[in-house]
C-alpha cells in the first residue's frame, strides 16, 4: 500500500470514528497554524463590541487610529519578549533597555545635534549589545534570566537617569524621529499595500497547497485554505478602510507589521526558529541533536534588545519626549509581558507566536483606551487589566487540557 493511500484510509477511518469531544476539538484548533489566534482575537472582538455599545465613539476611525498608535510601543517590546519567552526565559529589563536607548538617541539628536537616522542606528546597536550581554551572562555563566534581567532592569533604570541628566526629560523635535509616528500614508498607497499583502499571502498559500499536491502529502482542507485567505483579506481591507477614513494608514503600523512579519517568519520557518522552539520545549533534546543552546539564548536576548531599542525610538517619537516615567518607571514592562502572555505565549517556553503578541498589545491598548473613554478611574483600569490577564492565561491553560501545573 502506498503511504499516502494508507494515510487517506486511516484518515477516513478516523473521520468515521469521530467521537471527538468539544474540549479535544478546541485543543486541536489551538494546535493548528492559525487557530492559535482564536482566543486573543475573540477577546479583542468582545472588548471592541462592549466599548462599541457603551461608548460609540470607541469605534470611530479616529479612535482606532489612536489605538494603534498607543499600542505600538507595547507591541514592539512584546514581540521581542515573545522570542525569549519561547525559550522559557523572561526579560524584565526590556522596558529599561528601551528607555536607555531612547535616552541615548535623544541626547545624540538634541544635545549633540546628530543626524536623526544615525542616532537611531546607534540606539539600535546599543540595544542589541545590552541584550546580548545579558544573554551571555544567562547562557554562559548560568545565572537565571529572571535574576540577570531584574538586575539589568535596576541598572538600566539608573543608566537612563544618568543619560537624561538633571532635567529628567528631553524633548524630541527631530523631524526624522517624529516622522516615524506622525507620517500617514496617502489613501491610495494604503489600499495598494493591503492588496499586495493579501495577494502575497494568497500566492504563498496556494503555491504551498500545489506543492503538497505535487509531492503527495495530505492537503489542507479547502475551508482552511480559502478561509484563511478570505479572513486576512477582510481584515486587511477593513483596517485600511477604517484608517483611510481618518488620516490614512500610519507609517508606524506598516513598519510594525513588517518587523513582526520578519520575526514571525524567522521564528516559524527557519532552522533558527526551530532552535528557539526546541530549546524551549526540551533543552536536553536540543543539546543532543547538536543545537548550541547557549548561542541560541544569546541570539534571542539580542533580538529582545533590538526590539526594545526600536520600541524606545517609537516611544520617543510618539511622546515627542523621552522621560523616565514613560519608559523604565512606568507600566510599560508589565504591559509588554502581559501582551505577550495574553497572546497565548507560554511563560514556560516552547509555545507562542510574535503575531499574537501584537494582538495582545491591542487587547491591552483597547482596554486602556475604552476605559479612558468611559471615564473609569485609574483604580478601575488596573483591576480590569488584571482580570483580563488572568482570563487570558486561564483560557490558555484550559486549552491545553489543563491541570498540569499550569504548563
Amino acid at each position: 500500500m502506498q503511504p499516502d493511500q494508507a494515510i487517506k484510509t486511516e484518515a477516513m477511518q478516523i473521520k468515521k470514528a469521530s467521537t471527538i469531544s468539544w474540549g479535544q476539538r478546541f485543543v486541536m484548533m489551538r494546535e493548528s497554524r492559525f487557530g492559535a489566534f482564536g482566543p486573543v482575537l475573540l477577546a479583542l472582538v468582545c472588548i471592541w463590541a462592549y466599548f462599541g455599545i457603551t461608548e460609540p465613539v470607541f469605534l470611530s476611525p479616529r479612535n482606532f487610529y489612536n489605538l494603534f498608535m498607543q499600542s505600538a510601543v507595547v507591541g514592539t517590546i512584546a514581540v521581542g519578549i515573545t522570542v525569549v519567552l519561547l525559550l522559557g526565559d523572561i526579560d524584565l529589563s526590556a522596558a529599561a533597555t528601551s528607555g536607555v536607548c531612547a535616552a541615548l538617541m535623544a541626547v545624540l539628536v538634541t544635545n549633540v545635534g546628530m543626524w536623526g537616522p544615525l542616532a537611531c542606528l546607534i540606539a539600535i546597536v546599543l540595544g542589541i549589545v545590552m541584550g546580548t550581554t545579558q544573554g551571555m551572562l544567562i547562557a554562559y555563566i548560568g545565572i537565571p534570566s529572571f535574576v540577570v534581567t531584574l538586575a539589568g532592569n535596576l541598572g538600566f533604570q539608573g543608566l537612563m537617569l544618568k543619560i537624561l541628566g538633571i532635567h529628567g526629560a528631553i524633548n524630541m523635535r527631530d523631524p526624522f524621529v517624529r516622522g516615524i509616528t506622525t507620517v500617514a500614508l496617502p489613501p491610495a498607497l494604503g489600499w495598494a499595500l493591503a492588496v499586495v499583502f493579501v495577494a502575497v499571502f494568497a500566492w504563498f498559500s496556494l503555491r504551498r497547497q500545489a506543492r503538497r499536491r505535487a509531492i503527495g502529502l495530505e492537503l489542507d482542507t479547502p475551508t482552511a485554505l480559502y478561509g484563511s485567505i478570505a479572513f486576512f483579506a477582510v481584515l486587511a481591507l477593513a483596517a485600511v478602510w477604517t484608517l483611510n477614513s481618518y488620516r490614512g494608514v500610519p507609517l508606524l503600523v506598516v513598519l510594525l507589521i513588517g518587523m513582526t512579519a520578519l520575526l514571525g517568519w524567522v521564528t516559524t520557518s527557519t532552522p533558527f526558529g526551530r532552535m528557539l522552539f526546541a530549546v524551549g520545549g526540551n533543552q536536553e533534546s536540543a543539546r543532543r541533536v547538536g543545537i548550541s543552546v547557549q548561542r541560541t539564548r544569546v541570539a534571542a536576548f539580542g533580538i529582545v534588545g533590538l526590539m526594545a531599542a526600536i520600541g524606545g525610538i517609537v516611544g520617543a517619537s510618539r511622546y515627542a519626549s523621552v522621560s523616565f516615567n514613560a519608559f523604565a518607571g512606568g507600566p510599560l514592562l508589565l504591559e509588554a509581558i502581559g501582551a505577550a502572555v495574553i497572546g497565548g505565549t507560554s511563560l514556560f517556553g516552547g509555545r507562542g507566536s510574535v503575531w499574537n503578541a501584537l494582538l495582545g498589545a491591542l487587547v491591552i491598548g483597547s482596554l486602556g483606551n475604552g476605559l479612558d473613554l468611559s471615564g473609569a478611574s485609574a483604580a478601575d483600569k488596573l483591576m480590569f487589566s488584571g482580570a483580563i490577564l488572568l482570563l487570558a492565561v486561564a483560557i490558555d491553560a484550559l486549552s491545553r487540557g489543563g491541570g498540569n501545573g499550569g504548563r
Partner: protein
C-alpha cells in the same frame, strides 16, 4: 518515495562478519572503573542484545559507542576499518545512532520537526543568508518523515503534522527510532526501548526493530526484559562488573542461563568476569 526508502542499507559485509567491532574498551569515572576492557561486536541484519545487572556497564558502553562519552582506551572498527569515536558527531558521521531511554523528543514540535531537529533541510537559492536563517523546506521534511515512518511500518500514526505531545509512548518510541534511522545510519543503539510501554505498544516497537533488522541495520538492544530479549535478539552479550561474561546465540540458550551469567558470571571463557 524517498530515494532511500526502497534501498536497504544492504549486506555489504558477509552476514557472519561483524559490522561494528569494539576491542578493549575502558572507561573510568574518577576512581570507578565502569568498563574494564570490554569487547563487543554486532553484525548487519542482526539484533545484538546487551544485558547485565545494574552497574554492569551496558549504558556506559552504549554511550562510548555513541560518542556521548569518549572511552579512555579501546579500538573501534567499522567493516574492518579502524575509526575514532570521540563525539556524538563522529558517531553520526560513521552512521551510528543512539535512541536514549528518555527519547529526547520536543513535545511542542510536530513529528516531522522532531525527526529533522538540528539537521533541517532548507530551500536552495538563499546562499546569502547564514544557514540557520534560510527558509525551511518543511514539505520535504514531511515527505521524508512519512517515508522513514513508513519503513518502520508504524500504521497507527496518522499524520506527521501532529505534535509529539499528543502521541502514545509506543508512537514516540517509534518516532525516536525513525529519527535514528532517518539519519543514514547503519548501527542503531536502543536503550531500554520498551521499558515504559504497555503490551500492545511493546509489540509495535519490537515489530519496528524487526523491520529495521530485516533492512540490514546492525542493532544493539539493551533491555532488562528477558522476554523481549529472547523474542527479538539473534545473539546476547552479557556484561558483568564492567567486563565481558560471554556472547550467546539466542537460539541455543535460555533465560536461566542468561540470568545466571548476569548475576554470577561463568568461570570459563570470561577473562574479565570478576
Amino acid at each position: 518515495m524517498s530515494d532511500r526508502a526502497e534501498t536497504t542499507v544492504g549486506r555489504v559485509a558477509p552476514p557472519t562478519a561483524p559490522h561494528l567491532v569494539c576491542r578493549g574498551v575502558k572507561k573510568r569515572f574518577g576512581g570507578v572503573e565502569a568498563l574494564r576492557g570490554v569487547d563487543f561486536e554486532v553484525r548487519r541484519g542482526e539484533v545484538m542484545a546487551l544485558v547485565g545487572d545494574n552497574g554492569a556497564g551496558k549504558s556506559t558502553l552504549m554511550k562510548v559507542i555513541a560518542g556521548a562519552y569518549s572511552g579512555d582506551e579501546g579500538e573501534f572498527f567499522l567493516d574492518d576499518q579502524p575509526v575514532t569515536i570521540d563525539t556524538p558527531y563522529d558517531a553520526a558521521d560513521h552512521g551510528i545512532q543512539i535512541v536514549y531511554q528518555d527519547l529526547a523528543l520536543c513535545e511542542n514540535l510536530d513529528v516531522a520537526a522532531n525527526m529533522y531537529l538540528g539537521s533541517e533541510p532548507v530551500h536552495d537559492g538563499w546562499g546569502f543568508l547564514p544557514r540557520i536563517l534560510r527558509p525551511l523546506d518543511d514539505l520535504l521534511m514531511e515527505k521524508k518523515a512519512l517515508a522513514a515512518i513508513d519503513r518502520l511500518k508504524v500504521r497507527t500514526l496518522q499524520s506527521v503534522r501532529g505534535k509529539v505531545g499528543g502521541l502514545s509512548g509506543g508512537q514516540r518510541q517509534a518516532i525516536a527510532i525513525a529519527r535514528a534511522v532517518g539519519a543514514d545510519s547503519t548501527v542503531v543503539l536502543l536503550d531500554e526501548p520498551t521499558a515504559a510501554l504497555g503490551v500492545a505498544q511493546t509489540e509495535q516497537v519490537l515489530q519496528a526493530v524487526k523491520n529495521l533488522r530485516d533492512a540490514g541495520h546492525a542493532i544493539v538492544y539493551i533491555s532488562h526484559n528477558m522476554a523481549d530479549v529472547f523474542e527479538i535478539s539473534d545473539r546476547i552479550t552479557v556484561l558483568r562488573h564492567g567486563g565481558n561474561v560471554a556472547v550467546y546465540e539466542t537460539a541455543q540458550t535460555n533465560t536461566d542461563e542468561i540470568v545466571v551469567a548476569m548475576t554470577r558470571g561463568i568461570d570459563k571463557g570470561a577473562p574479565n568476569a570478576a
